[in-house]
């Protein structure tokens, strides 16, 4: 029977293809995850929604850990620039705000991919003794997305 033979061959080919796919998934160094997962928030991490609920957007000190050019192109209202490249000079200027009161500090950078907000938050805690320092999940991108969805 011709169709039976063809069916068997199709099954063999399908099996080989599946075997190849499994092998690539198992051994390829850049194999992607099979499903998307939301990493849980770290202890010092907050979302835009959490900031709004807990303190209100104006109830925190926003620190922008990006570069000057990016900051000047757009930032969260009231945010102050503080990055590793300008650490001393920038901190020198904004310190009076940081040392006054117990208002939480929220540091953000460009997106979920950047690490600058974590570096700056860690420096503020370790080097200056400032308590209540958080990082913003998703950074500036997440903030902008939340603004556009609210409009």
């Amino acid at each position: 029977m011709k169709w039976k033979r063809g069916f068997r061959e199709a099954l063999v080919l399908l099996g080989l293809a599946a075997l190849g796919a499994v092998a690539v998934k198992a051994f390829h160094p850049y194999a992607p995850a099979l499903y998307l997962q939301n990493e849980p928030l770290r202890e010092d991490e907050v979302t835009v929604e959490m900031v709004a609920e807990r303190w209100g957007e104006e109830g925190v000190i926003w620190i922008d850990a990006r570069q000057v050019v990016e900051f000047e192109a757009g930032h969260i209202p009231g945010a102050m620039l503080l990055n590793k490249q300008g650490w001393t000079d920038q901190l020198w200027e904004i310190w009076s705000v940081l040392e006054a009161g117990d208002i939480p500090v929220v540091v953000y950078c460009d997106s979920a991919a950047c690490k600058a907000s974590r570096e700056i938050a860690e420096r503020l805690r370790q080097n200056t003794g400032r308590g209540e320092v958080y990082t913003l999940r998703g950074g500036w991108e997440a903030y902008r997305a939340s603004r556009s969805s609210n409009e």
Binding site: K84, Q85, L91, G129
Partner: protein, 223 residues
């Protein structure tokens, strides 16, 4: 039947083979030492297209706005060489600075290349410890910061000021241009506070002229 299976395996094998990139980089991890006065540091990633087809670099993403990329040519012919240059804005950063570039191409099934840049910038002066703290209600005893010059050329402390009147301080020259001792004493430790000593120097590199020494009174401080 067997012939078709072999043909299928060969076809699969050729598709799987395309997953391997054609651009071969001399190195994908570059480590360099910068000078303290460097503002922008250039890092080069030379490569060659080892494939038989031209490769187009479609996008280069950076892990930081402080690292920009330039490419010698967007399309690299078979056998041709090229270079991706990373321009690392160091500013006043010291210590180890690590960032990376993600290079995307039009190679069929090709994965992005990740080019890691590590630049070590020497610290020319340091304040030790980084922070002084006292516990709330603790003995308001004096504590000491040291300003230490780490390079050969001297750096002199020219002015020290405090953000807090609740703390008195004294500056003592241990060795001119090399080491200074700043003694800090709170008037009271009754309430929590943060403060900073602003230390100005005569360093000829403007970005390294100012330093900050932090102090605090807090719950559990001074332990």
């Amino acid at each position: 039947m067997i012939g078709r299976v072999i043909l299928a395996m060969v076809m699969w094998g050729s598709v799987a083979g395309e997953v391997e990139g054609k651009l071969l980089f001399e190195t994908t991890e570059a480590e360099h030492k910068a000078e303290a006065e460097d503002d922008v540091f250039k890092v080069r990633f030379p490569f060659v297209n080892e494939g038989t087809e031209p490769v187009k670099i479609t996008k280069i993403e950076s892990s930081c706005g402080c690292l920009k990329a330039e490419v010698s040519s967007e399309v690299i012919g078979a056998g041709e060489e090229g270079v991706i240059t990373g321009l690392f804005n160091l500013g006043a950063a010291t210590g180890e600075n690590e960032k990376f570039l993600t290079v995307k191409t039009d190679e069929v099934g090709g994965e992005p290349y990740r080019l890691v840049t590590r630049v070590l910038v020497p610290e020319i002066a340091s304040i030790e410890p980084k922070i002084l703290s006292w516990g709330i209600g603790s003995e308001p005893e004096a504590k000491v910061f040291e300003f230490i010059v780490k390079r050969e050329e001297p750096i002199r402390v020219t002015e020290v000021s405090s953000s807090r009147e609740e703390f008195g301080f004294e500056v003592e020259t241990v060795e001119e241009g090399r080491r200074y001792r700043i003694t800090l004493k709170p008037v009271s430790t009754e309430k929590a506070l943060l403060g900073v000593l602003r230390i100005e120097t005569d360093c000829e590199i403007e970005k390294h002229r100012r330093h900050m020494a932090f102090f605090s009174v807090k719950q559990g401080g001074g332990e």
